[in-house]
Symmetry: D2
Subunit: 427 residues, 4 copies
């Protein structure tokens, strides 16, 4: 066993950390404050902040761009795009890089490594036709457009994909989209040009062949962003989460990714690395919250002592330290398994069930140590809380992932269960 | 022992519940939606909604007004104000009424029973001079003005009152206020005309005699609402929480309540019933969240079953049911002790430590059962969460209240501790 | 609402507390030590300790005997048995008395108020024929014999009564018992003369009419105590828990209580008050553990401070204080409901799900504060832990009781669930 | 990063697992049953079971002997002792081997890898004189004698070493031991011949130089095993935990290990690997409990379903799966850090705080799924519970280890705390 990062991972992690500390951190509070100010002043809070654009340009210059792009694709993309092509990192190597990015709300965007663009780019990379790549992947890798993923629906329990009501009917050489989606992250950004829409294309097919993914330009007739949603009071600019209606949207059949009925297969491949990224960013977010907690509780005095020395505070901090470290190791192990075995569905469900809950708890503890300030926008904790909380639901609620873990662990005992039930019935 | 409510309490509880169900509930979502709409449209989200004014008038007509006013004061106030005078309820009797109000965000305001006005009115009632009552208590009872309580400070750990930095210096026949306060609830309301400000008047006095409470008109020169704060992303209109600076505010010395140095004594009396009210409203809020959880989880289907029948959901609902019931009994017991013994500081700290935490957990569970919708503004859960979360800090953080409980329970063992330490030292 | 105990309850609670403090407490450690000594020496640890017999006699003289006997039965029993007849306490009034008894492991036996004798006596009182009463109830009330309850079975999940495999077949004027039971409390006592056995008498009847309860003399041919069981390492003398086999035990059909098929009806009536008693005794046990924790943590020093002032210890003690108080109120409320409404099945399931778990947690906390000693037999904590732990399983595991609570609370939403599932199916 | 075990670790892990499955597991229940039988029959439960002696001989033949012996010592010891010398495993490599051993209560002893002999052997190996090694280390490596560690004291809070009251006074060429120790594991075994005693040798020295460790033959005049202790009702044969009094025990000064005043230094080195072993064995114990839980809950039916499909059972199993996996990774990381950096005090405290708590919880969950049987001796769960519970206290209680973690994590913020307190004072 060897817990050291590879030299490449260590180097990029340090570079990303340095960039965040020196370039992003000094600007980030101002950027958030400006969004808040615009919102209060009735100005457009979604307008692109030129500071972010500038930061993106600098990150790209320094080769810190598209680092999420998985190993195996750096070749052609390096040739074609130069630095767009990522660094060819394995999931293990990218994990600590993603953790660093998670310490800032805007860093993922600055490095062109934010959800859902990363997942969408991966889908196009693996399943897109050359035309689809030319039209959408290139500008996404370039950071000149942004994208959304249109899956969750307001009217049904979307944790069960078989509940999906939206349709993507093929009619001749067209595909017609109808339905309503929400929690479509990214649609708040003015550069959001394309969505990957998931809908039922053949209700009578086997449930793994029932759905299709379709590239839908956000300006296609019939597509309408109904509203931007708050998550625990937070709009989460500059990307945001929207509710989108699609009403008889007609598109060329070529917009279907990999052909009709392939959505389940694509989703499976998309979600593994994406969930590792989410979890590693949450590790970074938790570290940020823990750092603030240590700082605040060391620097404020009550009842004659630094707050850190009151009651159970030191124990709580130590427990948070241990919880984060355990969670990080679990994610790194899942990433390593993804790299070495090609898939790790159970391990990925395990981290998805464990990490957001841990992050929610650590952030809540830090918030409590900040007193009233912790709930306000003076600290990034209410925002961090909203992020962690939403990830207990996004990409499948905790309970669904626990169910995946349980199914796998109980499989070897299945015969026992079957014969017990049988015996029972025959009584 | 008798767990039945008194006939008067039962009658008023039913009346309040009926009023909320038939008058408030049909309007409440629209009122909140309108605030959100105005905010997005750059209009003033703090402007008084005429529907609330109308509801207040109706509540008053039906005698559901100032019900919080403690027993013993209904006599003079009934004479002077008619229905303003409350119903002369004990804490025990008011408890279930407050619980009902807690199911709605605006009901407390509609019934003129909202914090911090209730506490401020109690202070004036018990400690105010006739002039102070005439000027401020009458319109507060009348609902024509609103008030704030200016205690917590941004620069220090305010859970320790000895940290307070704001000053209220007496200079001749004037008192001069300086300092910065935040989490001043109510200052967002356009009718907020007066604050009760707490500051150091004599830094060299015994720590129970060091502070004074001063009535400060919000339009006094030197008073400035710097900004409204969000709590977990929520502005909590129509009252809101503000940050207020006071810069050389000069007021007649008569504005000091009960004379200089009386703040600690007044605070002690103010906080007992106020915390019981907070806790009972949180019980109501938790019931609301649990009701939504049962409804949602019964009415949505995933994996072929109502969500309520999936995994541990039924157990979680039952545990929430038990947790709420235990908490309610604990609050009612504290209220009963306040009534029968005149004070119940330890019991009140116990409920303040236990109930917000319980409410936070129940609401979080309900939110999880709602999926993405739970985090949005389509349900009152994100708002409820912010309310419960903020009450783990407001009026003293959990940890401080646990400390009060511990001190009381350990008092009988103090000699053991002293002699053990002594023995240790002499080794 | 009125949280004061009735004068009768207050008086008896004080009398029981006084008796325990002055008569039982000085002897109890020696009694337990002697059992342990006998066990190690190869002597009979189950032999009756004459000190207990003596204590029983004194308790009876002081009128502290059979206090569990429910109100309504004191008349005839007072006439017939004098002080045997109990005090005619309601469940509410008996609750604080039971709490006091719970602070000692042997007090319930000393006062003739121990499980399962109390439940068995109630069954005979309510459902027994005059012959059954004459033969078994009289000596039980007199304390000259003891009894057991033979329900749980080793081979099946006994939380589901329909799993029961033991049979009680009526053959002419005999009933024939076959089966194996365990966790039969009381069979370790040399005076245990009778068991109430539950078995299937008519497998084809409705599931509420399928089982019968039969009085089985422990010396009947075919009855065999196979072994005494440890619960978390503890034999729990002087009553103990046994595994009992019944092999073709033939008894007169008159030994069936209330006739064949009545077991479910009897069990329902037996379990309400019994569970209230269990829970109140656990409250007392938790108080005992908390008292020891305060004492130990106040009287020992580490790192220069009394242990109570280290880390989160004060918070843990305060949380235990609050948890016990909440639990007590919940039990008292259930007792009051039993008294006023005649039944309180859901409330009783709620306390059965909540109280043992609370007790386990409080005792574990106290044990941790005692360091190594806490696990040893120098303190009653390992024994207390075993008691609390076993009550998370005895009389139905936590999960079954949570299920009862959930079913009740979800009943009003059942239509929503039904129509949602219907809608789902018709899609 | 690489999470694969080394080939050597994989090979030995498989060999140990195979040996346990095929040689130990078939005998283990019978061995425990026989101890219980002897105890009940008044025979000596501590007598050596010849089956264990036989298993030890076979383990040694197969080279599965002294595997705990740290890398770097295999050279001389291999030469001198042949297979006694261990396999030269790093902590990382030994970790999965120790996990396997943890699945059985007797396997550690069978492989000569049980506490406290392992720690004692390491102390002699690193700090012992040649004479000490010849007399005590050789037979310990050979498994012909056993040993104890005499540190914890009944009269003081031993988590703070400065509380230690036992003395080891040097008088001329003798050292005189006085004091009382308990929780001395191993003294129940008839072959226990030597203890490592820790006592104050110079009360006026710096606190790191105050104590000495002395080799004390268990048959030295003045040494007396006062009694064997139960831990949660369990005697934990065949090693057991004893209380030992030492009354004027005179030994040659050469019995002091590494000379007077070296106890703290020795303890530091002894505890790191020992705690890793403890934690890895607990991982194995937790896996055993989880396996039993899956098996039992799959194979029993209640309410028409396998128990595993009732309520929250699957979620609880999945959470246990995740908790164990996280804990294992944390321990492996600490082991790796011990290997690569030579020390890992903070990481070792972190695992010591986290793993026993996790194990306690997992075992308790499994026990609950077993119903009444789980508490009895029919399953190894009550014993496993006692083991996990005792490790929340042995080698330092959870809270002390959390304190170590907190101190380390707060060190970088210490200046902030100091200046805040300073500022406070100067106000």
């Amino acid at each position: 066993m060897d817990f050291s990062p590879s030299p490449r991972a260590a180097e990029l992690t340090a570079a990303v950390r340095g960039f965040i500390d020196t370039q992003i951190a000094p600007l980030e509070p101002g950027i958030h404050a400006d969004i808040a100010r615009r919102r209060l002043a009735g100005e457009d809070p979604w307008a692109v902040d030129p500071r972010i654009t500038e930061l993106q340009a600098r990150a790209r210059e320094e080769g810190l761009w598209n680092l999420f792009l998985p190993a195996g694709h750096e070749g052609p993309y390096a040739e074609r795009y130069g630095t767009h092509g990522g660094a060819g990192l394995t999931n293990s190597d990218y994990a600590p890089v993603a953790e660093e990015m998670g310490r800032s709300f805007i860093a993922p965007l600055v490095f062109n490594c934010n959800a859902p663009d990363t997942g969408n780019m991966e889908v196009l990379l693996k399943y897109g036709s050359q035309e689809q790549k030319d039209r959408w992947l290139d500008p996404l890798l370039d950071g000149t457009i942004r994208s959304a993923f249109l899956m969750t629906e307001p009217e049904v329990a979307s944790s069960d994909a078989s509940n999906m009501a939206a349709t993507a009917r093929v009619e001749g050489d067209e595909v017609v989209l109808d339905g309503r989606k929400w929690w479509s992250t990214g649609v708040g950004h003015p550069d959001c040009r394309v969505g990957i829409f998931m809908g039922v294309s053949d209700p009578d097919a086997h449930r793994y062949l029932r759905h299709s993914m379709v590239l839908v330009p956000m300006d296609a007739p019939g597509v309408r962003v109904e509203r931007m949603l708050t998550a625990q009071g937070v709009y989460d600019e500059p990307l945001g989460h929207g509710e989108v209606s699609l009403d008889g949207v007609r598109l060329p059949v070529e917009n279907i990714i990999a052909g009709p009925g392939k959505a389940a297969e694509i989703a499976q491949g998309r979600l593994g690395p994406g969930r590792v990224h989410h979890c590693m960013r949450l590790i970074g977010l938790s570290e940020m919250a823990l750092d603030l907690a240590c700082r605040r509780a060391s620097g404020r005095v009550a009842f004659g002592k630094p707050v850190v020395n009151l009651g159970g505070n030191r124990e709580r901090l130590a427990e948070a330290r241990i919880a984060i470290d355990q969670a990080r190791l679990l994610v790194q192990h899942a990433a390593w398994k993804l790299d070495t075995e090609g898939q790790a569905a159970v391990e990925v469900s395990a981290i998805k069930a464990a990490v957001p809950k841990m992050a929610q708890k650590v952030i809540d503890m830090s918030l409590q140590l900040h007193g009233g300030g912790g709930m306000s926008d003076d600290f990034p904790l209410a925002g961090a809380y909203a992020t962690a909380r939403s990830l207990r639901l996004a990409d499948g609620p905790d309970e669904v992932h626990l169910g995946v873990v349980a199914r796998a662990m109980l499989a070897p005992y299945r015969d026992a269960a079957a014969s017990a039930t049988e015996a029972e019935k025959s009584r």
